[in-house]
Every structure is written in C-alpha cells, then in structure tokens.
Symmetry: C2
C-alpha cells in the first residue's frame, strides 16, 4: 500500500495489521474470525486461480458494522474485501494483499417492498432465491438468475446476468439506487426510487460492476417484475449452430419477448443426456422459456415455431405444465454437473465471452474447432439471445501440458471474441483472471480512465485491491 503507486499490491505492515485486528476484536468480539479454516473458506474461487485468503473475517450484521470495519482498515491502510456467497468466478474475493474480509451473509433482510412501484430495498447479503421466496406472496419477483444462488450485492458488484437477461436485462438494468460505504466510512447514496433520473453523474452504474473496488454496497434498491400468469418451456434441436443462432436473431428482430433462450452445443447435449437420462438428439439445442398470459404465450410460441422451422429446426415442442417445464429446464440447470460427469475428478474452468449476435455462430463454431485441435474437452452453453457463451473446460489441473493448452485456448477465445467486436467477459467480471485482456478490448485510454476513477474514489487503494484495474 503505497500512495505513490496505489496499484501496487503490498501486504500491510505487520504492525498495522496487528493493530487492525486488535481494534476489530475489540469492536466485534467473536464476530471477528481469524481461524485458518474460515479464512480459507473466504478465499475460495470457483476456478483454477489460486486461493488467497484474507487475514481475518468479520461477520457483519448491519451497515454500521461495514462502516466501522472500513474506518478501522482505512486508518491502518489495510485492504477490505466484501464477500457475499463466494460464487464469483474470476478471483473477485481473493485477498492478494491480505486484509479483512467482510462477510455479508447475515445482512440478508428485505427492508421494504413497493409492489405498486415494482421495486424493493434490500441488504446486500440476501441471495436471489431467498429474496424471491420472500416476494412470491406479493406476486412479484426479481428476474436475474446467474445460476448460482448468489447474493444480490455480489451480483451487483460483478454486473451479473444469466439465463433471462435476454428479456429482463442484467444487474445494470435492474438497480435503481445503492448505498455505498466509502473510504472514510460515510455513506454515498447514488439515487432515488424514481424509475429514471438525469440528476448528475450515474454513480449507481459506476458501483455496479466495480467488484467492491470503489466502496462497499450496504443497501440496494432493485426493480421487480410481476410474476407472469403463464410460463411455457420449449426445446428445439437444430442440425447446426448456425441454424439455432439464425432462429434466435429472427425471433429478437421480430420482437418476440423471449424470456430465456439457451444454446447447448452437441457436446453439452450429449453430457446432459448422460447425466439427466434424456434422449435428446445430440445436435445443437435451443431451450426456451416464454412469459405472459395464455394468449400471449400461445402467440409467442406460434411465432417462434414458424421461425424455427424456417431455420431448419426439428420438432418444436412447448409446454406450460410445471412438471414438464421443470423436466426440460432441469437438464440446463444441471449442465455444470453433467459436464463434471464427463471426466470425474477433473477441474472445470469456465470461460465467458460475449459477441454481437450476428457473429455468435462463427465464434462458437471456430471455438469448437479450436477445442478439437487442442485436444481439449469442453461442452458449450450459451445465453444465445445476448451473444454470450461459456465453455466448461475439463482439465487435469496437475497436468502442466494440458493446462498450458487450456490457457492457450482461453487466450485465443478472448482474442477471437474481441476481434468480432465482443468482450472478454459478458457476466463474470474481470477480477484477477481477466485483467490482462482489458487493454486489448478497450485500449490504454479506457484503462487510464479506470485508474483515474479508482484513485479518485479509493485513493488509499483499500477496497479489494488487485482487482479489475491492472497495475500500470
């Protein structure tokens, strides 16, 4: 921690750290935890990145706890890392310079629900499933579903999205306002409950996706939707990835309000058949969901069926029966476990590129060819309506040759996406793993701007140092 180069990653001085832990112990008692096991739990990353545990963990219960941790850490120039459920994928909760982890799981209350306004005010540690269980009786829901039962604060911080972003947008589109604890422990309010505003710089969306590097989110006001009367699920096989992508493009162009449209490549369908005991044709598959009332859903499915046929789709079946819907989508939800089943014991490395939808078929097909060339095993699932897809690389993490090929593959994948005017991360964030790709995507001027923003809002570099912005 050196003010002259705030992006340096130095561990705090031992004295400063000891003083910090002493102050935290006095303030938090047994809510300060320094056991190795708990520290390790708070560094777990879901990928091949090495774990880097914090020096201690504080279990926060209210906003004042966050404020006090930040004040104590700031006084000693010790890093502070916010932790939700630890399901981020790019090392976002690692502590490369040590420091104090604030675990927000107990800050999980719904503070206010405004059904008429379709918004609610929540604490950051609530997970999306718990939130939606809380809301169900009131006929509303929070639509973002990244797969994991992540905390909403964490989802905001990584600008997460998932399977139904095609209809409901990403976390960026679903946050009205935040409260954020800044470096001196005071709280920045970024917006109001008004649905739109032109009142100054968009602080809300600066903190969304900032991965806790500019302050710690202590409260969120988020948008809700009415639970649709009717939900239909459908599946349609295609001979080629191109056909599936073309159907998706036409559906979006003609304004069908698809709620979900997921692509599984042939390798992924094969894995799902094996794991979920299905007998789907082992060719590219689209899994879809439609939301509306009976009339609307019937019209949406009719229109999509026509488009699928035009694009060489196989039989298009849809159902509104909950048990049938569950059966269809369960395979998608279990895709991760199906992948693991292909090579038990192997590590899974998730990738996350996103390209303009017109380039998606090219990008997937070239990526499949590259996997073959490099002798790597990786099914592909895609949020095809957004042009976002994930390879799940199955690697023997102890085989240096295979890991080298995997790294080579990941570099080439990112470069391929970027050359198609796409991004190195659609929804997982930069964290530690993607820092090297930012400059290739946006250029040095954007990096300069990001560094300037970080220095402006966190001049001591105490908030989650070593994430997003690479050292100059």
């Amino acid at each position: 921690m050196n003010a002259s180069n705030p992006f340096d990653l130095k561990h705090p001085e031992p004295k400063a750290l000891a003083s910090t832990i002493e102050s935290l112990a006095a303030r938090f008692g047994n809510r300060l935890v320094t056991s190795q096991a708990v520290r390790d739990q708070h560094a777990h990353t879901m990928t091949w990145l090495a774990s880097q545990p914090p020096d201690a963990v504080v279990m926060a219960q209210e906003t004042a706890d966050i404020q006090d941790v930040v004040r104590i850490c700031a006084a000693n120039r010790v890093p502070v890392i916010a932790f939700g459920t630890g399901t981020s994928l790019e090392g976002q909760v690692n502590a490369p310079a040590g420091g104090i982890c604030i675990d927000l799981r107990d800050m999980n209350r719904v503070l206010d629900v405004h059904v008429e306004d379709l918004d609610c005010v929540i604490q950051p540690g609530i997970t999306r499933k718990t939130l939606n269980e809380n809301l169900r009786d009131q006929g509303v829901f929070f639509p973002i579903d990244p797969g994991a039962d992540a905390s909403i604060g964490g989802m905001a911080s990584t600008r997460a999205s998932g399977t139904n972003a095609v209809r409901y947008g990403t976390m960026r589109d679903n946050i009205l306002a935040l409260k954020v604890v800044r470096g001196d422990g005071e709280i920045i309010t970024t917006g109001t409950r008004a649905k739109k505003s032109s009142a100054g710089y968009d602080l809300t969306h600066l903190f969304v996706g900032a991965e806790g590097t500019l302050g710690i989110i202590s409260e969120l006001t988020i948008k809700l939707r009415g639970i649709p009367d009717t939900i239909a699920a459908a599946a349609c096989s295609f001979a080629t990835v191109e056909g599936a992508c073309q159907a998706t493009i036409l559906a979006i162009q003609t304004g069908i309000p698809l709620a979900r449209i997921e692509l599984l490549n042939a390798a992924q369908v094969k894995a799902c058949n094996a794991y979920s005991k299905l007998s789907l044709p082992e060719t590219p598959l689209l899994l879809l969901e439609f939301h509306g009332n009976d009339v609307e859903v019937a019209e949406q499915t009719r229109r999509f069926g026509e488009i699928a046929q035009e694009c060489g789709g196989g039989s298009f079946e849809w159902t509104t029966r909950p048990e049938d819907r569950t059966r269809l989508w369960q395979a998608r939800h279990d895709a991760y476990w199906a992948v693991r089943g292909l090579r038990p014991g192997a590590g899974v490395v998730a990738t996350d590129v996103c390209v303009p939808i017109s380039r998606l078929a090219d990008c997937v097909v070239e990526t499949e060819a590259d996997l073959l060339d490099l002798k790597l095993l990786s099914p592909i699932v895609g949020h095809v309506g957004d042009g976002n897809f994930h390879c799940s690389l199955l690697c023997d993490v102890n085989d240096p040759d295979e890991m080298a090929r995997a790294e080579d593959f990941m570099h080439r994948l990112v470069e391929r996406a970027q050359s198609m005017d796409g991004t190195c991360t659609g929804e997982h964030g930069i964290g530690q793993g993607k820092q090297k790709y930012l400059v290739g995507e946006l250029g040095p001027e954007a990096l300069d701007a990001m560094r300037a923003l970080k220095q402006a809002l966190d001049p001591q570099n105490i908030f989650n140092p070593g994430k997003i912005v690479p050292a100059a």
Copy 2:
C-alpha cells in the same frame, strides 16, 4: 480556471483566449466563427435562464476536428462546450466562463448499421428524425423520442428519454459504447458491440448524462429495435388523476408492454381542445400507444380496456389506422404550442420531476393545488409510466412578482418530489438550473463523489465548466 479550485468559474485570461482563437483560426479557417449572432445562437437556452454565449464557435466535421479543438483549448485552459441542436432545457450549452463551442451538427453520419445485431454506429450530431429516416428501409428504428428533434449525442449527454421510455428505456438503456475525446485530445473507447459486458468500470454510463463535462462524445454505438408490424393508438378519459395513475400501475404490474402512456391533466386537455380543435372531455386523459403484431396489439388493448374500466375510465377507444393515430397523438405533440396559446407572449418554464409511480397521483394533485394557491397557470403532461411529469409554467418574465412565485413553485415542486423519494430531474438533466437541488436529493457524499470524478477525468475543468457539479 484555477487548478486549486477547479470548480471556480473564471473566464480565461484575455491573452490565453486570443492565442486560442488564433490557433483555431489557423486550423479551421472560416469554420471558426466569432460573430455575435452565431455566438448568441449557440447560447440559446429554452428556459428562463439567461444566455451566456461562448467566445467562438467551431463547426466540426470529423473526429479529428474535435480532438484539435480540445488540444488547443487545453493548452490554453480555455473551456470547450459541445453543441448539438441547443434544445437542452437547463442551460447545458451556456458558456458561463466563455470558451469555445464545438458545433457538431455536421457530424451527422450513420457509420454502420448492423440489422442482425439491432445496433448502429453514428456520429453525435445526427438528429433522431434524420437517423430514423436513414434506418426505416431496413425495418429498424431508434426508439427514444424526447419531443425535440435533438441530436443523439446531446440526448446521450443529458440522459434524455421521453414518451416511449416506459417500453424502450432511456438513453442510458440504449447505448452500447461511446468514443469520447478526453482532455489531451486522445480518444477513450468505452465498450464494444456486445449486448452485455462485465469488463471493468462502466465508462459508457459515466459519460451518458455527464452533459459534456467529462469529455466530448465523438461516436456512439446505439441499440435499435425492429419496427413493429402494428401500432395502435388509444385515448381514455378519467374523472381523476388518481384513476388514471391507478390504471397505469395495474397495466405495468400485469406486464402489458405499453409503448407510450401519457397523462394530460384537465388544464392540458383544455389547452389541447382549444389549440387542436378537439372536443375531449376536460378531465385527466391518458393517451396510449401499443406496439406488436395484430394478435398482440389486440390482446394488449383488450387487457388495458378492462383495467381502465376497473379504474373508472371513460370509453376506451383504440385504432390502428395511421390517420387516426396521427390525429390522436398530434394533440400530444402539439401540447407545447397549445400551452403557449393559452397566454400569448408569456414565457414557458418547463419543470421535470419524477417520482415512484405509487406517489404520482399525490404529487400531481398537490402540485395542481399549489398552482391554484400561487395563482400560476401551468398545464401538466406526464410520462406516467415512469412517474415523470412536466409543468409548463406560463409566466410574464418581466413581472418580478410572478417570477418570484414561479421560482417558489419550482422549489416546492422539487422538494415535494424529493420528499416522495423522487428526483429533481427525470430527463432534462442538471445543467445550471438544477444544481442547487442535487445535495437535497443525494446528500453531500454523492456530491463529493461527483466532484472527485470530475477532477479525475477533467483536472483542468475545461469541459463545459459550471454544469452539473456545483462549486464546493
């Protein structure tokens, strides 16, 4: 211009200004204009704020022009103000410290259209009508309609929206990426054409709504939509504002994808009847538009009709015939002229608050009462789906007593909206006119953050000084 307090508003030193104009003349020849008439045209504000012309105007034709103006101004610490069509409403194009205006009207080309991706790349000076004429043949359109035929760069800079934000969002929701000229003349690229990204701080949305205070937008990548097959227009009168608002709330809760839903209060309907020779009941009126195919539009109007009836609406008529649609909506489009007709020669002062939709009826009704109390004449129109409404105050700008009451009214209106968890500006921006309200809305910490961002990205305070962020 004083580095120690970058928010001070000092005119440049005469020598520095002379040197700037000399350099610009050498570079731009007769595209540098210093005539009083042209300077005055570039300071016109649409409101009661006094005009503050720039010292000179440069007619930019390409990005390199913007870069060179910025470089020359930066070297001399002279302000630079971007100008689109001058239709902003809060003094955004005024030059309180003088400086150089860059007129972008000739940078009006469509650089690339990607119909499959529903995006296009444009120069900042193109207006929304010209853009949509360019796009029509390709079956796509840009949906944001703030009323004025504003430039897209200007609309981005004020985070504009308008009548169909309820369905298509605001400028914030419809920009994928920007190129922005920074203080040293280099260009920041803020994003790619991917529909979503988690790649670092959201620079795009920091520049959207920044009113040219952080850099000058030289290129935009924006989202398009397919032109709907069927467009229906409808009108429905209500006995009370509450009834109209309740119908709107229910329609949104149940997921009817309203394309436009505009509230006209009784005073506005009366003005429209007189101006547009209509005979609408002189009670609160909702004007609506529905987009979809035939089946969808029929279902949407059926559902809205039921809701309107439940909420005490009068007869609900809808039509898809273009001439009937035009007749209905013409009254809304002419609302401004209808207002002017109520008191020829008076000035019109536009207000722009936005509240959670559950509070909209209260806010409008209390505002109507306040107008009565203060003996002020002001019809009201509202983008009721967003909770955003505008009073059009008709004032004799030469009557100090009336202007004092008008100012009093505006303060009370903003405070009323803010006390209802709303904002002082839904879509017009802060400019000069709303600076005093920011701290009441977001608190001093948010202002600190905004000041820090301004200093980080524009340390010389050359970009549109005196806007958004009040001096500390």
